[in-house]
Amino acid sequence: MLFWFPVSLFGETGAPLNWNEANATFKRYCTSCHGGKLPDADLNLENIDYRADLEGDPEKWMGILQALRTHYMPHPDGREMPLEKRQPLIELIRQGLVEHAAAFDSHSATLRRLNRVEFNNTVNDLLFTKQNWAESLPADDAGYGFDNVAAALSFSPLLLERYFDAASRAASIAVPQRVEGKQWSLNAAEFKGGHGSGRARMVVSAGKKNGTRHLIFFPGKGTYELGLKVSAQQAGNENARVEFWFDGERLGEHEVQAKRKQKPEMKRHMVRVTRPGEHQLEVVFVNDFYKKTDKGKQDRNLIFHGVDLTGPVQKPDDLRSPFLDRYFGGIPGKLDHKELSDGIMRFASRAYRRPLTTEEARGLWEVFRQNAQSEGEAWDVLNGLYAAIDAVLTSPSFLFRLEGGEEMVREQRDSFALASWLSYFLWSSMPDERLFELARQDQLYENLESELQRMLADPKAVALAENFAGQWWSFRDLSFHKPDTEVYQGGDRELMRAMQQETRQFFTYVLKNDRPLLDFLGADYSFVNQRLARHYGIEGVEGKHFRKVSLQGTMRRGVWSQGGILTVTSHPNHTSPVLRGHWILENLIGLSPPPPPDNIPSLPGTEGKPDPADLRDSLAQHRENPDCASCHNIMDPIGLALEHFDGIGELRDESERQALKGETLFDGAVIKDPVDLATYFQERRSEDFVRNIARKLSTYAAGRGLDWQDEAALERITRQTRSQDYRFSALIQAVVNEFAPLPERASVIQVTSTTETP
């Protein structure tokens, strides 16, 4: 069953409190420290007008609210505040904040630079490519847990240099150039991997990892011939065999006969190069042989000498591209000025995600003309187009999203701004054709609900799993998390990848099937492949693909007991109940305590490789200090319940788990194991969870840290989501209502000075 009202979660609570009645509670539990001449933490709660104080300093009251919710206050060596006193006070303060915030309109950050994921997706959608544009950009700084927070996305000279570089590469793909075929050679000495052997590379072990490889620069699109020079050292009863791979695709396999003086033989392959630039060639030894005998050793090796390259051979089609077809409808050389200009403007308008102004159109044509025109000769149209692409992809109108926000004048909140806001929120990329079409007709707002459904059903919505959940739940970190494989033998890359995929797929499932958000807390299903099923002790799952399985009869529920989460909240060689407890409080139920004080004393008895009993005892000892207890009473019992799993999320042996007794949580709940935790979440913390996911998703959507002014918006989002059975789509819709730049219908104005629309 679902629990609807926060007060009902605590059955004990009575009628709502008013501020006058609150006076007695403050007096009884708070003012002995927070009163008098020198109140603790500079917070005076004695003889003040609470309501006025809250309105005068709402940030402070946000802090008071959080301290009460997490039982951080009253301090453990003070008087215990019972739930029936605490809960009404919490509700009263929350209500006060919500009412005060109601006067403020929530909004998104005004100007946001595309982060590197958004840049990557946008360039691909704009140019119809599938390149990795992100890898050459510096990483983005994150704020409030997300790397799309506007204030943390700074702009630096390096970034502009890299954007120029990306623009050049993008241009060379978008507008293929005629390149004269040539012949050239690469010496094996330039290759990486294998062992140096004069000017050749010797490959002594089989397998892709042990091969030799190089990133080869190809000057143009087209077909090239590779002449690959190999020889072998013979041993055993078969010839050496070699495989060649090009951009991760296998070209073929050959036998290599050992010859005198290791004279190389030439193996030929044709390759299709679909874009100018670097492509990877790999030379792999298939059948290594090594044997020590009385007479010495028998050793079969492969020797790679180098490659002769010839090309490109270009067919007429090699000079076309989706970019040219789509924006220009043909080959540049055959287009007149009007067609060229129209094409550039169509491209720029999509890039800027809005109609161009006449000044912008004039500026771009000027850039084109200046670079294309050459005296007395035919125009160099390609150079002109390259320059236009440079200009568009490094323009602030492309690199920054301007979609609304507090300071932006209302007239600028048009349908184009809304289309862009929605598509970066749900897809981490630019709007598609349909969104642009609705924006052109100014019909997007009217079709908002159906468009949201369509966008969530689109494959691009997986961006929410990757970028929102990946950071919210930190499963992105599994990409570089390296467990100590001496302690955790199974903790290899394959397992990390499998765990990442589980959580990604779990989130996507809830999203795509519009399941209740509470599945994240309590789902009795998950997604595993054979590797992960073995890790979890689930039988009957074979193969590499992931499938939905029931978790009935296991200790796992929801996202918090998935292997990946348990792993990223562990150290490489041991678990941390504190980190795990904190992760759940911060990310799931929004009850994270304040950060620890400076130079905290270390936990006694946790040297080496502590087991669950050590950790339990050590933490219990530590909580005897009231200063530590005020936060650790919150974190530890939750974290200790998860001690049933080791540092890579595997269920521990029965004997180790024996040591784990039930711990009493700050609100009196007794939690013994993950199953208790699941019940506790469901019965007592659903509301906190929904409030918290509303906050997280709103931060991600708005691109800024939220403050007290957003409390009313968050309250409305929570209420709306609850009223629709906690459906994912209800949450999305509610966040859009509060934070998207929705046009004011009365004041929508026509954009007048435009030439071209996307």
């Binding site: 050459s136 409030y144 700074s154 630096s156 890299r162 670097e278 932006m408 930190s474």
Partner: protein, 442 residues
């Protein structure tokens, strides 16, 4: 015989390179001429050592000439002791909480080059200070193609919040253009190469001149775009656009320098493939790029954040499978201390290899490249176990200052060292960070 570059610099630089003067910040032309007493420009690099050091193994002994037997951690620098000064008694007060509570790691990395107190924020109002490398670049960079180069050997970033309420911007960035704007480092050696030289292949380099001409031709349009955007947004967003304008100016200057001549890249230089799997190879590759950048005079100011304070990197090649940060809180446990000793040694060995290559590489005047360098190696945490920010481990290396010394001071701001370095390089500013003057005897 006067080396050609000295000739240009000393006598005819304005005539020979008419655009040069307009590119230089006021006063720097004079600085370049006075500082360039050997003919080569002064080159600076700042290299960060994360999570403090084991103090007992670092201590350089009595002040004066460096002890005959260097301490265990410093021993890898023995072959180059004449290039090396160990400086003790420096501190970074602004790495302390000063009322801001926990977050020593974020603060320490942030403070090292800025001497400023990081504003505690999750991201909305990041505020630190301009870093010293950027100040130095004002005085040193005229004539080189890039004002500065920022590198890091940390190729991952944790998601979520970084350190006790501090934005990740303080943790992963080392160099700061101004109080609000970090200079993000590059982590992929191949991309660093491409940034420095424009391409990874000679055939691509052939197109560079035309590419740069195109890029120059679009700058005015971009400026117009930014101006029109500026009119549509409020003050706080104008700061963002200011960053764009600044970047545009920097790139514009770079585009006015000559096209890089690939002949300058030594024939034995092997193009980095990507990020090496082995960490020591990763560090070496980054150091090799620093060497190449100095050698080709691509830049004269480099920052290299090997890893940040709080970095929990493991070192499988040393048999260290616990995280560095976790180990640094060793609480006196000998096995952990042993691991940290290995890690400290590992980092110093890599630095030693860099010094080795620098001293064996000739510069344009035929002298050793090391002679024209001033390198700072160190960190803003002295003892990782206790997060202390005084008695910092600091090395000043390179031929621009007399070497083989242990310079000892009594609790003096690290920023005083930066003041001295700038003075050595012929520049001067009244104050930097929390400086109280220059360091005597440097």
């Amino acid at each position: 015989m006067i080396p050609r570059r000295t000739f240009l610099r000393g006598v005819g630089s304005i005539v020979a390179l008419p655009w040069l003067e307009s590119l230089m910040p006021a006063g720097s032309l004079q600085a370049a001429t006075t500082a360039g007493n050997t003919g080569s420009p002064t080159r600076m690099a700042f290299i960060y050592h994360p999570n403090g050091v084991i103090q007992e193994n670092w201590r350089p002994g009595a002040p004066g000439a460096l002890a005959a037997n260097l301490s265990r951690t410093l021993a890898p620098l023995e072959p180059h002791r004449n290039l090396v000064n160990v400086i003790s008694g420096l501190k970074h007060d602004h790495a302390n909480p000063n009322g801001d509570g926990p977050g020593d790691h974020a603060r320490a990395t942030a403070t090292f080059l800025t001497g400023a107190q990081a504003k505690k924020t999750g991201g909305s109002d990041i505020f630190l200070g301009r870093s010293f490398d950027q100040v130095a670049a004002d005085h040193l960079s005229a004539g080189s193609r890039f004002r500065s180069l920022e590198l890091s050997a940390t190729n991952y970033r944790r998601s979520g919040v970084c350190d006790s309420g501090y934005s990740c911007a303080y943790v992963y960035n080392f160099s700061w253009q101004n109080e609000r704007t970090p200079m993000p480092p590059q982590v992929n050696p191949r991309e660093v190469f491409k940034q420095l030289f424009g391409a990874s292949d000679p055939r691509e380099l052939e197109q560079m001149e035309q590419r740069m001409a195109r890029q120059r031709s679009v700058l005015d349009t971009l400026r117009d775009d930014a101006k029109s955007l500026n009119r549509k947004v409020g003050q706080s967003d104008r700061d963002k656009l200011d960053e764009y304008f600044t970047s545009l100016r920097t790139v514009e200057k770079r585009l006015q320098t000559k096209v890089f001549d690939p002949e300058e890249i030594p024939s034995d230089f092997k193009l980095p493939y990507g990020i090496p799997a082995s960490y020591s190879e990763y560090l070496d590759t980054m150091y090799d790029l620093m060497l190449l950048a100095f050698r080709t005079d691509s830049t004269r100011v480099i920052t290299f954040l090997q890893a940040h304070d709080g970095s929990n990197r493991t070192f499988p090649e040393l048999g260290v499978t616990s995280g560095h940060h976790q180990l640094s809180h060793h609480k006196g446990a000998q096995d952990k201390i042993d691991h940290i000793e290995h890690i400290d040694e590992f980092y110093l060995q890599a630095f030693g290899r860099f010094l080795d290559k620098l001293s064996k590489t000739p510069d344009a005047e035929g002298r050793s490249l090391a002679d024209s360098c001033m390198l700072v190696y160190g960190g803003a945490i002295s003892d990782g176990n206790k997060h202390k920010h005084d008695q910092l481990p600091v090395i000043l290396a390179g031929g621009r200052v007399k070497g083989n010394r242990h310079l000892s001071y009594d609790d003096v701001p690290m920023c005083n060292l930066y003041m001295s370095m700038l003075e050595q390089a012929g520049g001067s500013i009244p104050r930097f960070g929390d400086s109280t003057g220059v360091l005597p005897r440097v």
